[in-house]
């Protein structure tokens, strides 16, 4: 969980959602930063054990902040600028064949 420092320039506010929950972010933030600022710590489950993971390096190296953005999976949240109306979802971990959409 992150919070803005007291004397930061708050900038323009953007609406987005995470797993269907409405959230607000600051224009200029990356998706990963916006999630942290909204108290989201885990944004994906690993495809191996299903363990929860959250942003770790914030600089495109670790791939822990992978999320689904507007239906496109495996996006690095720390590299994608937040946009108005973005639909962000948890990157699911282990999925079984029967869950595959036809």
């Amino acid at each position: 969980m992150f919070r803005p420092i007291t004397d930061a320039d708050s900038g323009a506010s953007l609406n987005f959602s995470f797993d269907g929950r409405a959230m607000r972010g600051r224009a200029g933030d990356t998706v990963a930063a916006a999630l942290l600022a909204n108290g989201v710590q885990a944004c994906r489950q690993t495809p191996v054990s299903g363990a929860p993971r959250g942003p770790y390096c914030m600089m495109g190296v670790c791939f822990e902040c992978l999320v689904v953005i507007d239906g496109v999976g495996n996006r690095q949240g720390c590299l994608v600028p937040l946009r108005e109306g973005m639909r962000v979802e948890t990157q699911a971990g282990r999925r079984q064949p029967e869950e595959i959409p036809a």
Binding site: D7, N74, L79
Partner: protein
């Protein structure tokens, strides 16, 4: 300067591609453009500055004292680039660099805004910088455990600090700098757990006189003294683990033989930075193991040209030297490229480089002291606890790697991949490579230099099948031989 926001804004060919818009890349691009080269400066982040000058042109942090004077120096590099004729492509990922000596050009695979393209450059300067050294302790994969650099990026680019109780752990200048910045920003630091091995002083002391005459002394030591006086530092930490179920709730710390748990909401880890070698490795540049910095570095000549023709490597990606030296190395690499492309004579190049080289020598003075003093303890390079995850992507543990190395006689990281899949996830070994090498070296009684490193493959950043499928095809009509 012009900005390319669309893949179609890019030209088919540039004289020079610079990868990475940190200090080295900014300086290289501006210098090369001033020499008359057509330059593309590509960076996967939304704004230039790299990590050290992250978001220096766009940061919401208004009070200069929070980030410190060194940070704001980056603004001058942005201004210089803006006044040059270079093309800046933000949010642009370079996923392949393939020099072809026969054709005399370099094929570049780039992605921008969800679309991929192949373009060409006559010369390439990699200014991909550094990453933080992996810090594999039990529980480091828990949400709420991050790198110190990550917190610094959140502060610089978004004006965010961790809410609640923060513990910082590890060693090295960035850790102390961040502690000071977070404190200045009003964050709650409950402990700074210093893992600097006490006996490092013995190795480092010989390099101390040089350090006393170095630029690090003034800015670094003063900063650290201030941080140490004001913050809850605890020295001599010999063991660490992050605790919690589905997020971090505390840190188990051992010092002087006694252990305790410190409750926290965020744990920030750091034990130095190492060159990001994925791109230079995938290109096939020769690397060597730097014993002092304890990491792989690409081999470069005095113009920062790599072992592969048409590919130079500037900045911390060619060995850690800090922001100031990175920018200077970028300038020299640009002069080298301009000479190879015939825009400067050797004499012009050498004359222009001379004052930069002098400044570079000054900027690097004293570096060795820091390298030796903050060399991580062995147990934080090769985790002794078998259950500790080493490869975060594929969830491979230290015990599995040790066992495979000794029982199956696996002597190198590339063979290890075939057995355990370590290094085969999306981060492509960036977070496990150094640790896997360390563990194999330990099990086989070899040095990391003897063990070698992963052979990395393009794309160095993932591209989607759809992006690849939309590239022009060179051989689509060829039919399979089916019997």
């Amino acid at each position: 300067m012009s900005i390319a926001r669309n893949i179609t804004d890019l030209a088919d060919r540039y004289d020079l591609l610079v990868v990475g818009a940190g200090p080295a890349g900014l300086a290289a691009a501006a210098r090369a453009a001033d020499c008359g080269l057509s330059v593309l400066l590509a960076d996967e982040n939304p704004a230039p500055g790299g990590q050290i000058y992250r978001a220096v042109g766009t940061t919401p942090v208004t009070r200069p004292a929070v980030l410190g004077a060194e940070y704001w120096k980056g603004g001058a590099l942005l201004t210089r680039l803006a006044q040059s004729r270079a093309v800046l492509a933000p949010s642009c990922t370079v996923w392949s660099v393939a020099p072809d000596a026969a054709v005399g050009s370099v094929e570049i695979g780039v992605s921008l805004d969800g679309r991929a393209r192949l373009i060409e450059a006559a010369e390439v300067i990699l200014a991909t910088g550094a990453q933080e050294r992996p810090f594999p302790i039990p529980g480091w994969t828990l949400p709420g455990v991050m790198t110190a650099g990550a917190a610094q990026i959140a502060l610089k680019s978004s004006g965010l600090v961790p809410a609640g109780r923060i513990v910082l752990a590890g060693c090295g200048p960035l850790l102390y700098l961040l502690a000071g910045q977070l404190a200045a920003a009003g964050a709650t630091i409950v402990a700074v757990l210093d893992t600097t091995p006490r006996r490092n002083w013995r190795a480092a002391i010989a390099a101390f006189p040089d350090f006393l005459r170095s630029p690090y002394l003034a800015k670094g030591l003063a900063l650290m003294a201030k941080a140490r006086a004001r913050l809850p530092f605890r020295n001599g930490v010999t063991d660490l683990s992050a605790e919690g179920e589905d997020r971090v709730t505390g840190v188990r710390v051992t010092r002087g033989g006694a252990s305790e748990t410190i409750a926290c909401d965020t744990l920030l880890l750091h034990q130095g930075v190492i060159p990001g070698v994925n791109l230079s490795n995938a290109i096939g540049c020769a690397h060597e193991f730097d014993e002092d910095q304890h990491c792989w570095v690409p081999q470069v000549d005095q113009w920062f040209a790599s072992s592969v023709p048409a590919v130079a490597i500037a900045g911390d990606g060619a060995g850690i030297g800090g922001a100031e030296s990175a920018a200077l190395r970028g300038e020299i690499a640009a002069l080298g490229a301009a000479q190879r492309l015939g825009r400067l004579s050797r004499e012009q190049r050498d004359a222009q480089a001379a004052p930069i080289r002098a400044a570079l020598a000054r900027s690097l003075r004293g570096r060795r002291f820091l390298d030796l003093l903050y060399k991580p303890a062995a147990r934080f390079l090769a985790p002794p606890d078998d259950a500790t995850i080493v490869c975060r992507c594929e969830e491979v543990t230290a015990g599995q790697i040790r066992d495979t190395a000794s029982r199956l006689g696996v002597t190198g990281p590339n063979q290890m991949k075939a057995f355990l899949r370590c290094g085969m996830g999306p981060c492509q070994g960036r977070l496990c490579g150094p640790t896997v090498v360390e563990l194999i070296a330990q099990a086989q009684g070899l040095s990391p230099a003897e063990v070698g490193y992963y052979r990395l493959r393009p794309p160095v950043k993932p591209i989607t099948l759809g992006e690849l499928a939309a590239l022009p095809q060179s051989d689509a009509a060829v039919k399979a031989v089916v019997r």
